[in-house]
């Protein structure tokens, strides 16, 4: 897989899309379709979550099947903050990122010592452990999840207005994408991509590979935590379903549909998958069959998109 190099049209294109999105809520209100403001916010949030996994998987080359844990933890931190009276997002969101990131640091420190299938299964098992922990925690709602009685504020603005939440999500996604774009081209991005390509070589060049991987993994976890906190505000509920491993699978699917290791892979994947879900579902209740076949098709017939990027002869966890 090549190192990330943005296409020339990417920046102007992203900027155009951003401008269009700024006008979206107003347009939706004019056409009396304000439901789609919420839907668009959902896409933005999942774009953020998928991009965080893309950092870990696409740039860092770590096939983690436990990413939903960080996503869910972010949601729970937001809900717990809200119940505890911390309703300012400027406070709660960094807190969600911090807790999710720290937990990712812990999980990473334990699981990055393993390789291959073991890594996949251990990340999966840790996520499952978190899932059971939250299900058991009566104080945090157990099976039912923890509701937010009201949405939070962000810099004093109430997120109860769907439009405000949309703009906050858009702003945060833009900021994170900017960071990821810069990061990919900076020393750190170079380093983790090179480690993905050839771990031993990097070690032989004197890089402390484990440390770079770990930081990448934790950073991904923190961003996923931010997405979770936003999602809890959107749905008004921190649900244990967010922590389930199938959620990790869905995020993985988003990244792969969108393009592993491409800066906007997660964004595109989230958009495509949620659009498919929203509109195909109405016509064909069993659309997962179509999705499944599509994914298998990608694996079998578009190995350039997936497999060739992660050549087996090169090392990867």
């Amino acid at each position: 897989m090549a190192f990330y190099r943005p296409a020339r049209w990417q920046k102007p294109f992203a900027f155009t899309v951003l401008c269009a999105l700024l006008a979206l809520p107003g347009l939706m209100e004019i056409f009396d379709q304000s439901y789609y403001i919420g839907f668009a916010t959902r896409v933005l949030i999942f774009a953020l979550a998928a991009s965080s996994l893309n950092l870990v998987l696409g740039f860092g080359g770590m096939v983690s099947l436990g990413h939903a844990a960080f996503f869910g933890i972010g949601a729970y931190v937001a809900a717990i903050c809200q119940q505890g009276g911390i309703v300012e997002g400027l406070l709660a969101f960094p807190l969600a990122m911090g807790v999710a990131g720290l937990f990712a640091l812990l999980v990473g420190a334990l699981s990055l010592r393993t390789r291959g299938v073991y890594f996949i299964m251990i990340t999966l098992a840790f996520a499952q452990m978190v899932y059971y922990l939250f299900i058991s925690a009566r104080a945090w709602g157990g099976d039912d999840g923890l509701p937010l009685s009201e949405r939070m504020q962000f810099a004093g603005l109430s997120l109860t207005d769907d439009k405000v939440l949309f703009y906050v999500a858009l702003g945060l996604l833009t900021a994170i994408m900017l960071l990821l774009g810069r990061l990919a081209d900076a020393r750190f991005g170079r380093t983790i991509q090179a480690i993905r390509e050839n771990e031993t070589r990097m070690e032989a060049l004197g890089y402390p590979v484990f440390r770079y991987r770990l930081v990448c993994f934790a950073l991904g976890g923190a961003i996923a935590g931010l997405a979770g906190a936003l999602l809890a505000n959107l749905t008004g509920l921190a649900s244990p379903a967010l922590l389930q491993w199938t959620q990790s699978g869905t995020l993985l699917v988003m990244v792969i549909i969108g393009g592993v290791g491409y800066l906007y892979g997660g964004v595109v994947g989230a958009l495509v998958l949620l659009l498919l879900e929203e509109f195909l579902l109405g016509f064909f209740a069993h659309w997962h069959i179509v999705l499944g076949l599509l994914l298998i098709g990608i694996v079998l017939f578009a190995p350039k998109g997936v497999a060739a990027l992660f050549d087996k002869h090169r090392s990867q966890p």
């Binding site: 299964m121 098992a125 069993h286 992660f310």
Partner: protein, 304 residues
């Protein structure tokens, strides 16, 4: 108290042996083909549906079980020939993606064919009651499950440890290239192992059907447990799968039964009962983490 303990131990054994049926196929596919198969749980689900449907059609549980297992084996064969064969040499990400896709397809197809509501599968009439052992009553059907599990474990032992095919399988698990170099038809061996794994899945699904419910999504939770089993046991090792399965089954059942009692001494009843089962399920993962810490390759590593 001893009676309670004995009954719970039997429950743990029954659960563990069923996990073993699932883990045996999974560990071989992992070990020999180096292929991560998330859809193993789906084979369990589809197998259970096959058994339930066949049992309903034939109005006999045993015929249904036989037909369902055979059906699952055929499905396994088709899957191996069309899809898995392509996946063995792919990277793990491709395997994860393709088999995750299989889960989606399997769940939706089952929902399409059999509807969203669970199917009911009843045990044979003669086994639906209890039998008396050592002074207490125990469900006859659970004893049958235990018998089946032990029989399969014995059979697998003979097959893997004593037969020529088993030797190839063991050789394949510890060193694939060497086995290939020895001129063994590895392709055919892979197919056979995969089909056998699918049949074991269906057997577990069919046997558990009357105890649980045959429903969409039943494969996902059990898949994780099977993973834990083979991580504990060591990927590629049948013996490891058996030991791992029994450990997980016993720890889970005893934890579920005894932790609430223990916690009740310390906490109010409902808090204890809430914490108990959850702690018991975490117990397995803690155990796994501990074993991995001391033996990163599991208890019985197949590869030197």
């Amino acid at each position: 108290m001893t009676q309670l303990f004995l009954e719970q131990a039997l429950n743990g054994l029954q659960f563990g042996l069923m996990l073993f049926l699932l883990a045996a196929g999974l560990t071989l596919v992992f070990g020999i083909m180096d292929c991560i198969n998330l859809a193993h749980g789906s084979l369990y689900m589809v197998g259970a549906y096959f058994v339930a449907a066949a049992a309903q059609a034939a109005d006999s549980f045993w015929i249904g079980l036989g037909a369902g297992v055979a059906g699952a084996a055929v499905l396994g064969l088709l899957l191996e020939l069309t899809l898995f064969r392509q996946l063995y040499r792919r990277d793990h990400l491709s395997q994860v993606l393709a088999t995750f896709a299989l889960i989606l397809i399997a769940n939706e197809t089952v929902r399409l064919i059999w509807g969203p509501a669970p199917l009911m599968l009843n045990p044979p009439e003669a086994l639906s009651g209890p039998v008396e052992i050592a002074g207490f009553f125990y469900p006859a059907y659970r004893l049958v499950i235990i018998a089946f599990g032990l029989a399969v474990a014995g059979l697998l032992y003979l097959l893997v440890a004593k037969s020529r095919v088993g030797m190839w399988v063991r050789a394949g698990a510890s060193n694939r290239e060497m086995t290939e170099a020895l001129g063994i038809n590895v392709r055919g061996l892979f197919t056979a192992v995969f089909v056998f794994g699918a049949a074991l899945c269906a057997l577990a699904g069919g046997l558990l059907g009357p105890l649980l419910a045959v429903q969409v999504g039943m494969g996902e939770s059990v898949l994780i447990l099977a993973f834990v089993v083979i991580i504990i046991g060591g990927i590629g090792s049948i013996r490891g799968a058996l030991v791992g399965a029994l450990i997980v089954g016993t720890v889970d059942t005893l934890g579920r039964a005894l932790l609430p009692t223990l916690l009740r001494a310390l906490l109010p009843a409902d808090a204890a009962a809430t914490l108990g089962p959850a702690l018991a399920s975490i117990l397995i993962y803690l155990l796994m983490a501990a074993i991995l810490f001391f033996k990163p390759q599991g208890l019985f590593p197949a590869r030197a």
